[in-house]
Amino acid sequence: MDRFRMIFQYFQSNSESVMNGICGLLALASVKIYTCFDFSCPCLPQYNMAYGLGIMFIPPVILFLCGLMLNRQSLVMLDEWRRPQGHRKKDLAVIRYMFSSIVQRAMVAPVVWIIVTLLDGKCLICAFSGSMDPEKFVGFANVTPVQVEQLLAKVPCKDDELMRNNISRKAVSRYLRCWSQALGWSILLILIVAAFLARWLRPCFNHATLLQARHWSNYIDIEQKIFEETCCEHSRLFAHKCILHFFESMRQEIKLHNFNLPRKGERDEEEEDLLQGITDKDQVNKLLKTWYYEKPPLNVSQTTQR
């Protein structure tokens, strides 16, 4: 029982920290994936916007779904939501609390990706270089509209032969990067202020309800874990009994077929028990064959009449 108590305490104290850890790991993974990813803008008029915005928004969706899946509590919440009422009433406040905590944690990695993308600037430069107003920049004055479109689309590609030392390219690029970084920092500031306010103002509203919801959501989580542990323990004991009964039934069968004089040996009692009366190569082979061909039924409530 002591062992179980230790396990309870561990899970109680660390369930939140395990989830926070996973959240942090996903955020780090998103930064790492962004740095490893080889961003290469197609520099073609119709493809730039799709590529740039795609890279900015599709990976966050993937990271959000991953964040939801990796969180164990989401399954617990779904379970609680969909279960039949039975003898236990359902408390919607608990389910709402669990849902909001899961979603908050899952949102961290996508937000990190979007902010890193904006602060780096490549995505926005790729997506919006074709939408720039050519009159603002010097190098595009005496050029036909089609050519302007082509040139603007090539701005993100520094190594392109047309764009290599083009001053206007650098101007457009700097302009877009400035906007991108401003947007990134603004979003970061707004999110942090929102998180700060939410955390500080929360105790002012419905604190008692919040405490109750948090307690019962922890309880449901722990109850689920203990149920799984108990099932494991039970199936181990079940298997143990089943195998012992199997060996016992084999011993009975062997006794029925062989006439063994009652043995009083110098052999230890312990050895005798371990051998289970199976002392012959043929008997062992028969036991193994029976184990495969006729597994014992899953019922350890044996009735014996001696």
Binding site: S40, C41, L78, T279
Partner: protein
């Protein structure tokens, strides 16, 4: 037994995390293999597509099979599937659960390989470089080449050093185009896989949760039962071997006493543990004979009761006649719950 119990519990409680760990290691191994692999596009018209698509699709298949091979539970699944029914019914839901969980884990490394390949772009660039739309991306003013000639020129796009069609279509333009398509495909593939996994995981509790709990319990049970049975057999084999060897040494000792007409020596009470363990063999010649006999003529796999005199040959050996009535009768009622 306590030690085994602790180890079983560790594996049981951590079996999921153990399998997840193997899964993660294989995924990392597949990324490492990809970066270590030296991709060499052949740059020839008909070989490019075969090479590119081969590198994209054949290693995932190998990784998928490897995922099954490295999973210990595959033999458990096969055994449960093929065993005769006997006294225990078979539950197809349990088999389905085991197969699904193994297949899901085995799918991760191939999916990682395909994603990394598509996001990197080399395979698609190699496979589809001959399909680049030259009319839209290339120079319209370039003199037209024959189809075969154009294919040959375009096939060299991945190999920058030997590319000769710079006037037809710039190498960087074509590579950027192909890489953009490849990366778009890669991200869409990852999104699709993640969405599927999410749907499978989140819709399951909405339907048949009770059946799922049942299948999961019994699949764990089958695994534990198999491990416990192996452990019990190992313990039995150990005891069997110990008694067999003990009886061998005792047999040798008895034979030698009979052959040399030594008076049976009663070991004095204070002789101690050591002389008991000598099992009656106390000189070099006897020991050598024992070792030779062990090699030349191993004892039969049959433990005889030690208290019986050696003249009584049939007790417990061979095929004795079936005794119609036994002193004790025991009946056991067995019925299957499955």
């Amino acid at each position: 037994m306590d030690k085994f119990r602790m180890i079983f519990q560790f594996f049981q409680s951590n079996q999921e995390s153990f399998m997840n760990g193997i899964c993660g290691i294989m995924a990392l191994a597949s990324t490492q293999m990809y970066s270590a692999f030296d991709f060499n596009c052949p740059c020839l018209p008909h070989y490019n597509m075969a090479y590119g698509l081969g590198i994209l699709l054949v290693p995932p298949f190998i990784l998928f099979l490897l995922g099954f091979v490295l999973n210990n539970n595959i033999s458990m699944l096969a055994e449960e599937w093929r065993r005769p029914q006997g006294q225990r019914g078979k539950d197809p839901a349990v088999l389905r659960y085991m197969f699904c969980s193994m297949a899901q884990r085995a799918m991760i490394a191939p999916a990682v390989w395909v994603s990394v390949t598509l996001l990197d772009g080399k395979c698609i660039t190699c496979a589809f470089c001959t399909a680049v739309p030259v009319e839209t991306l290339g120079n319209a003013s370039h003199p037209l080449l024959s189809q075969g000639e154009m294919q040959r020129v375009l096939a060299r796009i991945p190999c920058k050093e030997i590319y000769s069609g710079q006037e037809l279509i710039a190498n960087e333009v074509a590579v950027r185009y192909l890489r953009c398509i490849s990366q778009a495909l890669g991200w869409c593939f990852v999104l699709l896989m993640t969405t599927l996994a999410f749907l499978v995981r989140s819709l399951r509790p909405c339907f048949s949760q009770a059946a799922f709990l049942k299948s999961r319990y019994w699949s764990h049970y089958i695994d534990i039962e198999r491990k416990l049975f192996d452990e019990t057999c190992a313990e039995h084999a150990r005891s069997f071997a110990k008694v067999c060897i003990q009886q061998f040494f005792e047999g040798m000792s008895t034979d030698l006493v009979a052959a040399h007409c030594h008076l049976p020596r009663k070991t004095s009470e204070d002789a101690g543990e050591a002389s008991k363990k000598l099992l009656g063999i106390t000189d070099q010649g006897t020991m050598n004979m024992a070792l030779k006999s062990w090699h030349r003529c191993k004892p039969p796999l049959h433990l005889h009761p030690p208290a019986l005199p050696s003249g009584n040959g049939w007790a417990g050996e061979g095929q004795p006649p079936v005794h119609p009535s036994t002193p004790r009768r025991e009946t056991a009622a067995y019925y299957s719950l499955v």
